[in-house]
Each structure stands twice: as C-alpha cells, then as structure tokens.
C-alpha cells in the first residue's frame, strides 16, 4: 500500500534497504537491478535529493556513498549527472555545445588557412592556389553555423526583447559570408590577380571569422544561456539537423531530462481508463468528452503535478503562451528561463505547502490583457495534487459594457 500513497517515502525506504544490504556485504551486481527499477523515471535531481534527505535523517555520508558504485553500474556514463551538476552547455548535443564544437573545428581550419596563405604568399604555385581553394570551400560550411544561429536562436532572443545584438551579429555574419564568396570567386579564376591583394583579402576574412567566434563564445552564448529555457533549447535542437552542421558529420542527439508521465502514473498504481467513463463528484463523462471540453474552454490551462512535472495542457484554438508537447514530462523549472525560474519555483512552493491557494498576475501583451492565475489543486482531504496555470486574454471581457439580452442573428 505504502507505494501507492507515497511514492517518495516508498523509494526512500527501498534506498535505505539497499544501503544496508550493501553495508552487510552484498555486491553491487546483486542490488543493481532493484536500484534500477526503483529509480525508473526518476530524475537525477530527485535521486540526489533522496540521498540528501537520507543524510539529513542521520545516515552517515560514507554509507550513502556506497550507492555511488551502484549508480555507476546503473547509469554507466551518466554518473556525473547525479553528483557533479553539469553546466547545460557542457552536455553533448545541447545546441550551445554543438555551436562550440563547430567553433573548435572552424578555428583549426582557420589555422590551416593562415598557414596556407603564408605558403601562397611566398609562391603562388598551382598547388598552393588549389589548397586555398579547398580551404575556402570548406570554410563556406560556416554558412550552416550562421543559419542555425540566425533562424533558430535569434527568434528566441527577439522573443525576450533582445533585439540589438542579433541584428548587429546578423549583419556581420552576412559580411563574413560575402568576404568568403569574394575570396572564392577570385580563387576560382586565378589569373592576372594581384597575389598580395588576394592574400590580404583571405587573411582579413580569416580574422573576421575568428572575431565572430570570440563574440559568440564571450557574449552570445553566455547571454542566451541565462535567458532561454531548457524547453526552448530543445526546440532549437530539434530544428538543427534540418539546417545541418558546419564541419561536423552529425551532432549528438540531446536528451533533456524527461519523465514518461504515463509510466509515472502507472508506477503509482493507476491504470489508463481507455474508453470507460469517468465518475466525478457530480456526474459522469467519457475521456473523449473531457478532452474536448477542456479544449473548448475559453482559456489555456497547464497542469503540473505534485512533483513539479508538467503533465497536461489544453489545446485550445489560440494559446496565449505557446507550448509544445515536448514539455510533457519535463520538470516545470526546465520550461522557464533561468532568470525567472526562481519565481515559478516560489509560486509552486507556496501553493504546495499550503501557504497560498492561488497567485495571480496580469500583464499587457500587445493588444491583449493577459490574466495569469495559478491555483493549488487539492483533493477533498486537502492533499496537494499539483498546480494549475490558467491563462486568459481578458481584454474582450474588460470591454463589455451595457447589456445583451438577445442572441445575435449572425
């Protein structure tokens, strides 16, 4: 029974048992399977939280550390995720990680280009010209790096009102593209060309590419890392392969922490209702009807369960804040920009602890007046089940005056 009532406590209990089994001499392999089963669908953060609370309960650190080998056996390479909080951009496949990887490749190409320019300066042999041609053909691959930046990353920056840096950077990207094109054009028809002029132009292009790398790594990436939410990075990552990568065959597929909400519910002992009706406090409805009704409500709703996992959102006609299905199963904190995540966490904390029942915000967004309300969802016994976010454009409602008593004929 206990596992149904309180999953977290149940897991704690099993963890304790596993630790004492290790203590009494059981091997890692013997407990590995149980541990793997226990943590199925649990995020690394929650595991480290569980361990932390065991220590708070008085379990000696060394005992908890016995679990490390089990982690290692179960997670293999991803052990760092638990004990060493990684910077998101250090995770292979994260768009910024990929951008940086490309920059390394581009930088080593630039080094080669510079050496080849020197060779060419001393003697413009057929071979030296051909080398430069190949170099610049390769360098054109940078186009894909810039395209991803401009078409996938910049729109999100603009969404956060960061407009000047992308505009300036886009302009410079275009200048670099033009410079590469010019060098390639001259090289493709190398006759009666002033050797020194060409070398200077090529050198200048190389310098500009290097400068852009510096700008990306020192301004652009730090800036977007603190602005975009993990969910948005996920969208960028998903759109990346379509454009392609510079000097990389393929990028690693990035998997942000995500939980299967269905498995989570099943592990709590619940079953899908298939097509049977659902009984409510007053009346019944079929799953089909519930789905359609929620989508018809003149507002957007997002439900985050008691563990902070996004479990559901409505699919109304016009959503005020775009949501993609990719966020289902994500921790709510990963769906918000790092700069505002503490606000969200505070709201959820106040609602779940019972300190507050709701929290409201209202903001102007263009010609919309958006009313955002967060409600704690509690069952009849008052137990916290989650938080629901309700968003609605109340401008049309505010505009209502007078009375309307007859249905309009149109």
């Amino acid at each position: 029974m206990s596992e149904v009532i309180n999953n977290r406590e149940y897991r704690q209990k099993i963890l304790k048992e596993l630790i004492s089994e290790l203590h009494s001499g059981k091997s890692v392999d013997e407990v590995k399977e149980r541990f793997a089963k226990l943590i199925e669908g649990v995020s690394p953060t929650e595991i480290s939280e569980m361990e932390h609370s065991l220590m708070m309960d008085g379990m000696p650190v060394e005992e908890v550390q016995r679990l490390c080998d089990v982690h290692a056996a179960v997670f293999k390479d991803s052990i760092e995720e638990i004990h060493r909080p990684q910077k998101p951009e250090d995770v292979p496949g994260h768009p910024v990680h990929t951008f940086k990887l490309e920059n390394k490749k581009i930088e080593s190409l630039i080094d080669k280009i510079r050496a080849d320019i020197e060779k060419f300066r001393s003697q413009d042999t057929h071979e030296n010209i051909q080398n430069l041609r190949n170099d610049f053909e390769k360098l054109w691959e940078i186009d894909k790096h810039y395209l991803r930046k401009e078409n996938l990353l910049f729109p999100f920056m603009e969404k956060y009102q960061i407009t000047a840096p992308p505009k300036v950077m886009w302009g410079v990207d275009d200048e670099i593209r033009d410079a590469i094109k010019v060098v390639r054009a001259i090289l493709s028809d190398y006759s009666n060309v002033n050797k020194e002029q060409l070398a200077d132009k090529a050198e200048e292009t190389a310098v500009r590419v290097k400068e852009m790398i510096f700008k990306e790594e020192n301004i652009l990436f730090p800036m977007v890392m603190e602005t975009l939410s993990e969910d948005e990075w996920f969208i960028i990552e998903e759109g990346s392969s379509e454009i392609g990568y510079s000097l990389l065959e393929n990028a690693v597929k990035w998997k942000p922490v995500k939980i299967s909400v269905e498995k989570k519910v099943e592990s709590a002992g619940e079953e899908p209702s298939n097509n049977g009706y659902i009984k409510f406090d007053a009346g019944i409805m079929s799953p089909n009807e519930i789905n359609a009704i929620l989508n018809t409500l003149p507002l957007d709703m997002t439900f985050v369960d008691k563990d902070g996992i996004v479990k559901y959102f409505t699919q109304g006609k016009e959503r005020i804040f775009a949501r993609t299905k990719a966020i289902i199963g994500r921790e709510v904190k990963n769906c918000h920009p790092p700069a505002s995540v503490h606000i969200v966490e505070k709201i959820v904390e106040d609602l779940s602890s019972g300190k507050k029942d709701n929290e409201d915000f209202w903001i102007k967004m263009g010609d919309k007046f958006v009313y955002i309300r967060y409600f704690a969802v509690r069952n009849a016994k008052g137990e916290y089940l989650g938080t629901i976010e309700v968003t609605q454009d109340i401008k049309p409602i505010q505009d209502i005056t007078g009375e309307k008593r007859l249905a309009s004929s149109t």
């Binding site: 960061i162 000047a164 300036v168 400068e211 510096f214 700008k215 020192n218 301004i219 800036m223």
Partner: protein
C-alpha cells in the same frame, strides 16, 4: 576625486554608475554600445577587457585614456 572603475564589472554596471562612460567607450571603438538595447543585453555580459580583446583595442592604451579622463582603474 577620481572615479573608480572596477574592470571586472560589466559594461552595463559601469555605465550605470558613470553614464558619461557610454560616450567615452563609443569614442574608443565600442561603436555598438549605443545601439538600442545593446547595453542592457550584451552589456551585462561584457567587461571592458573582453570588449577590448574583441575589438582589437590595446587594453593598456584604453586604461591610459580612462586615467586621463579622471578614472582610477581597479583590476
């Protein structure tokens, strides 16, 4: 009294403390600094030494100019 500039601070912080810095930095080659929103976004990430490295401006020279304008530099 000289005005102290902490070079580890962001360009945004420095310009907020001494608004005249915007004009000075622009004069010294940080031409995008006055683009709308730039100071507020990129400026929060940038420091003067980083910007100098980016623009190929010699940091030592920059410090000398700042000193001449009555700023004392804190590294």
């Amino acid at each position: 009294m000289s005005k102290a500039i902490d070079l580890s601070k962001s360009v945004y912080d420095i310009c907020k403390e001494y608004p005249e810095m915007i004009g000075i930095l622009k004069e010294m080659g940080f031409e995008n600094i006055s683009a709308p929103g730039m100071l507020n976004t990129a400026g929060r990430i940038m420091t003067i030494p980083k910007g100098a490295a980016m623009k190929g401006i010699e940091l030592q020279k920059l410090k000398e100019i700042l000193a001449a304008k009555g700023f004392s530099i804190k590294e």
